[in-house]
């Protein structure tokens, strides 16, 4: 195994765990905003994973994907925060799992 492939395996394990832990928070909630924060970290982990992939393969074509993905993540959390109703936490306050 080359050095870079060892690095990629370690990063894959770390970032995979990151995704799983974020998922647990997304499932547990309890509010929409908690899920937003967790999904933010989830997207960051995805961006990180793509960056590791790009680094291992020396592939510059992935860079625009990284840019657009972080744009989308930002817009997403701002939009959710913007449209969270100030009066009531809403029904999403009970943690529900489909």
């Amino acid at each position: 195994m080359t050095f870079m492939s060892v690095v990629s395996v370690i990063c894959a394990v770390l970032l995979g765990l990151t995704g799983l832990v974020c998922m647990s928070r997304i499932v547990r909630g309890p509010t929409m905003l908690d899920r937003t924060v967790a999904s933010d970290v989830f997207v960051a982990a995805t961006v990180g994973a793509l960056a590791v992939w790009a680094a291992v393969r020396k592939d510059t074509n992935i860079l625009p994907i990284l840019v657009s993905l972080s744009f989308v993540a930002f817009m997403g959390s701002v939009a959710i925060a913007r449209y969270t109703k100030p009066e009531a936490p809403g029904p999403e306050n009970q943690s529900e799992v489909d």
């Binding site: 510059t60 860079l63 840019v67």
Partner: protein, 178 residues
């Protein structure tokens, strides 16, 4: 067309070229068209850019900020993985010196990334902001949190503030140290 809009168009065009990672005549023309459309279709309220730039202070601001961000990450990391329960937090009101939107935003943004604090509200007219600070459970740590916020504003004003604001920040800093 005023100076700010012109600068915005140039910056956006450069960003456009960087995203394409290439410079050709078509790309420059396309970038200029898109940038102009953005600037005129989505006009922003007039923004007062920094009146003064003190380069050495600016470098100090960036260096201290990166170091603080490293410390902040370590602190949050330690709080996250250690077995004990998370200590209590505090919501504090911090007065600001600067009335400039740009510098207020910069201060607030930097404060969000340095140890322990997060912006909750910013009262631009009243020059106040409210911060949520982690790991505060004694009067001493409370005082440290306030000092941290003031120091952050001091560094921003030292780098980009007008002379008047810089003097005020300096005076506040010296008063705190005395």
């Amino acid at each position: 067309m005023n100076k700010t809009r012109f600068l915005a168009i140039i910056t956006l065009t450069i960003l456009w070229l960087l995203l394409w990672a290439d410079v050709t005549r078509i790309l420059v023309a396309g970038g200029l068209i898109v940038a102009t459309l953005i600037v005129f279709l989505f006009p922003f309220p007039a923004l007062n850019l920094a009146p003064v730039v003190r380069p050495l202070r600016l470098i100090a601001l960036v260096a201290v900020f990166l170091w603080d961000m490293f410390l902040a990450s370590l602190q949050v990391a330690w709080l996250a993985i250690r077995p004990q329960r998370l200590p209590s937090a505090a919501l504090i009101e911090v007065p600001l010196i600067t009335g400039s939107d740009m510098l207020q935003v910069l201060t607030a943004e930097l404060i969000c990334l340095v140890p322990g604090s997060l912006l909750i509200e910013l009262d631009s007219e009243g020059k106040r902001m409210w911060l949520h600070v982690m790991n505060v459970s004694s009067p001493q740590s409370l005082a440290e949190a306030r000092k941290m916020a003031h120091d952050q504003e001091y560094r921003v004003l030292a780098a980009l503030g007008s002379q008047d604001e810089y003097d005020q920040a300096l005076a506040r800093r010296e008063a705190a140290q005395a």
